[in-house]
């Protein structure tokens, strides 16, 4: 079965520091990969997605992620975070043939401190 693992449940960082949120997936077939963000008291919104092509994907708010097939990873990065990036981040994957059904990781709470 498809599973998505987010290795860190919480990541505290200082403002303007770089951050990496880790995500690994398990699959023996091609997958589509996503990062969603949930700000306090708001719905999930899409940060970025990988469907095919370039393995480096750029999203909103300065975030980017790199698809690494050999390591089955899709880590999210930002070179310099802001207080407003404080939120819960979810990695998700679909599987070819059921691309409407997202499997989510447990989430990583990013807390940016001044």
């Amino acid at each position: 079965a498809q599973s998505v693992t987010q290795l860190d449940s919480q990541v505290p960082v200082f403002e303007e520091a770089p951050v990496e949120l880790r995500c690994n997936y398990s699959s023996s077939v091609s997958v589509y990969l996503f990062w969603y963000v949930q700000y306090p008291n708001q719905g999930l919104q899409l940060l970025l997605k990988y469907l095919s092509g370039s393995t480096l994907v750029k999203g909103i708010n300065g975030f980017e992620a790199e698809f690494n097939k050999s390591q089955t990873s899709f880590h999210l990065r930002k070179p310099s975070v802001h207080i407003s990036d404080t939120a819960e981040y979810f990695c998700a994957a679909t599987k070819g043939g059921s691309n409407y059904k997202l499997t989510f990781g447990k989430g990583t709470l990013l807390t940016v401190n001044p």
């Binding site: 998505v4 719905g43 999930l44 998700a92 409407y100 059904k101 997202l102 447990k106 989430g107």
Partner: protein, 115 residues
């Protein structure tokens, strides 16, 4: 409104009661999804509608859970004989075209607490 709207935002009920949760998707979105998010977990897929029909209900945990979308727009998730383990945030999402793995637009969720 412009986004996915879910009501109620909070629902507290007693064990054994019946509950309905409503989702109003973005206008024109043919695909609608229900997910459930338990405390400390990521959202879990429940059911997917394409138009009026449930194309995939494989995520519904048991026959106490049922969802409808009679006119291809608003959807209602119905839970019979609620149990304490049903306590969670129920998320609704919609999309214009599920086949191109496009963006899902999520509502803010309905938080259900079963006492």
């Amino acid at each position: 409104g412009a986004g996915v709207s879910q009501t109620p935002s909070n629902k507290v009920t007693e064990k054994g009661k019946y509950v309905e949760l409503r989702c109003d998707p973005i206008s024109g979105h043919t695909a609608l999804y229900w997910y459930r998010q338990s405390l400390g977990q990521g959202p879990e897929f429940l059911i997917y509608f394409q138009g009026t029909g449930a194309a995939d209900d494989s995520g519904l945990p048991n026959d106490r859970f049922f969802a409808v979308r009679p006119e291809g727009s608003v959807s209602t998730l119905k839970i019979q004989r609620t149990e304490r383990g049903d306590s969670a945030v129920y998320l609704c999402a919609s999309s214009a075209d599920p086949t191109n793995t496009g963006e899902l637009f999520f509502g803010e969720g309905s938080r259900l607490t079963v006492l």
